[in-house]
Amino acid sequence: MNGTDVKRPVVPGVRLGSMSFVWRPWLVSVTVLLAGATFLVFCVSIGVGDFPIGVPRVVATIFGHGEQVDEFVIMDLRMPRALAGLLVGLALGVSGALTQSIARNPLASPDILGITGGAGVVAVFLVTASGGAAAAVVSTVGLSAAALAGGLGAGLLVYFLAWRRGIDGFRLILIGISVTAVTEALTTWLLATADIRDVARAQAWLVGSLDNRSWDEVRVVFWCSLVLLAVVTAAAFQFRPLHLGDEVAAGLGVRFSRVRAVLLLCAVLLAAAAVSAAGPVPFVALVAPQVAMRLARHPTPPLVASGLVGALLLLGADLVARAALPITLPVGVVTAAIGGPFLVYLLVRSNLRQ
């Protein structure tokens, strides 16, 4: 209407060939820094052990210029554990970002939506059951895959129970909490009645740990994550308007129930894959998106940054659990101990600012 005087555009854009995006310098810088930090911790994590290797040598070996001794230690012995940590953290972070966005509630994490509980109860059942059938299942599909199925089953159950002409965030969380309570009761009952040696093994699985990961376990979570993250990336553009609520999204031309169903399924599968590889590592999926949001100063959980914070948290926690503490702890104990206070710190800091 009035003359366009030259000034800073209200919403600056950036072009890359035929692609164009809104330019968010802060989000991009934070994401790049997080990626750098994740890679560094990944390398340090590989270097630490009975046979210490410096970060430059680790980097050289990863890119194929290492010595033979390093190559064996790094690629065969230590890489599966570090890669499992990276992928599990990434999957949990992205999964949490999706569930929190879909429910429009920071409480909605895979821990609360029954996925972790479902995986746990199946794993504990298979570990503690003395019957031949359970042993047969474990030997044919493996404990990880069975746990994955358990997590998926519980996640889908919650989704369908919560469905009533669409998904409502509160309903999803309430039903998730109920299903989680049932699975936890079943797990406790199984543990209470099982043989004491099996209980120890089941407990170790239930805390969440990266100990003794092999390439076989990593392969499952690797391919699952790769495919699912590709789907999430493709759907992310249609997902953005959902933050404004279903009706606004519909008004903007988004088929919201379909987009949401696809992404919720991705979130459930990502979390189930992560749990199958490392056990139900607590708190990462809940805290990573919230930390990423605050670091990136973004009103909604940013997907890439959430995944990176998840990976950083898990790798860092594993490093602390192995190297910094006098006793060796499972990673799950440390993620809760680090993640909880850090989230509280971010919340308090933002309160003080206001």
């Binding site: 009035n2 209200v10 854009g13 164009s20 995006f21 008004g251 009103p299």
Partner: protein, 279 residues
């Protein structure tokens, strides 16, 4: 910007209706709310749907925007059944502002209004120079340019509603459907928002809205659709439609209809049980 126009001049486009419902029956679950209703939205005018609580006015608006699918009948947009169109194509023709929308905490005004461009974007083209200029115009037209960097949740109710209308404008549609745009607003802010709606209408847009306040609906509409129990009781210019008999029939309200001392429309003076001196 625009001074108050006493009489609305009907735009040239008004003879051709772009949006209409033909024999629609809509309900939730097993309950039928609207049964076989026909309505045509005259182009270039402000049409307001009024009626008592639960009469189906929001349901009708939601059906017109395709949020609800009619069990039978059809909504026709530019000569085509809206159910057969791609959601995205509908969004390029018809802007919708639902009742009391909520933005995520911390989302800035500019970012919210920018989301209005979604139907025109794709995964690879998420932000073009066109988008930037349309958003800037939408911000200017709704008078919120100065607030562009502020979080939406830090604004007053009236400012917030302007911002949401700005987002709908950025969508670039000539048809705007607003579900109770003045909910939760005090009278001054409600007038402010409705003046803005009138500006949009003056610039050639067709507006359909649901309003609760009868006097505001009468003042700001060219066409009133009065509903009761899922069907249309009366329809037309407020001067022709608003009578004491109709208000009694539609709302069970005793009222006196007088001339608006500051406008050219009727004014409704409700008559309750107390505080009334009738002579």
């Amino acid at each position: 910007m625009g001074a108050q126009h006493g009489t609305t001049k009907h735009s040239a486009a008004s003879d051709e209706a772009r949006l209409a419902a033909r024999g629609v029956t809509v309900g939730y679950g097993g309950r039928t709310v609207i049964d076989g209703l026909d309505v045509t939205v005259p182009s270039g005018l402000i049409t307001t749907i009024i009626g008592p609580n639960g009469c189906g006015k929001s349901t009708l608006l939601r059906t017109l925007t395709r949020l609800l699918k009619p069990a039978s009948g059809a909504v026709v947009l530019d000569g085509e059944d809206i159910a057969g169109l791609r959601t995205r194509d509908v969004a390029k023709k018809l802007g919708l502002l639902p009742q009391a929308p909520v933005a995520p905490e911390g989302l800035t005004v500019a970012d919210l209004v920018a989301r209005g461009r979604h139907p025109h974007q794709s995964w690879l083209r998420q932000w073009s120079s066109d988008d930037a200029s349309v958003v800037e115009r939408a911000l200017a037209m709704t008078g919120v340019s100065e607030l562009a960097d502020r979080p939406v949740d830090s604004l007053s109710g009236g400012q917030r509603q302007r911002v949401w209308i700005s987002m709908t404008l950025a969508q670039g549609t000539d048809l705007l459907l607003l579900d109770e745009p003045t909910t939760y607003l005090d009278l001054a802010h409600a007038i402010d928002v409705l003046d803005l709606v009138d500006d949009l209408h003056e610039s050639g847009r067709t507006v359909v809205m649901v309003l609760h306040d009868l006097n505001l609906a009468t003042r700001y509409s060219d066409n009133l659709v009065v509903m009761r129990a899922g069907s249309i009781l009366a329809q037309g210019h407020p001067r022709d439609v608003i009578t004491a008999e109709l208000l009694h029939e539609a709302f069970g309200l005793n009222a006196k209809v007088i001339d608006d001392p500051v406008g050219d429309r009727p004014l409704i003076v409700p008559i309750g049980r107390t505080h009334v001196q009738l002579n």
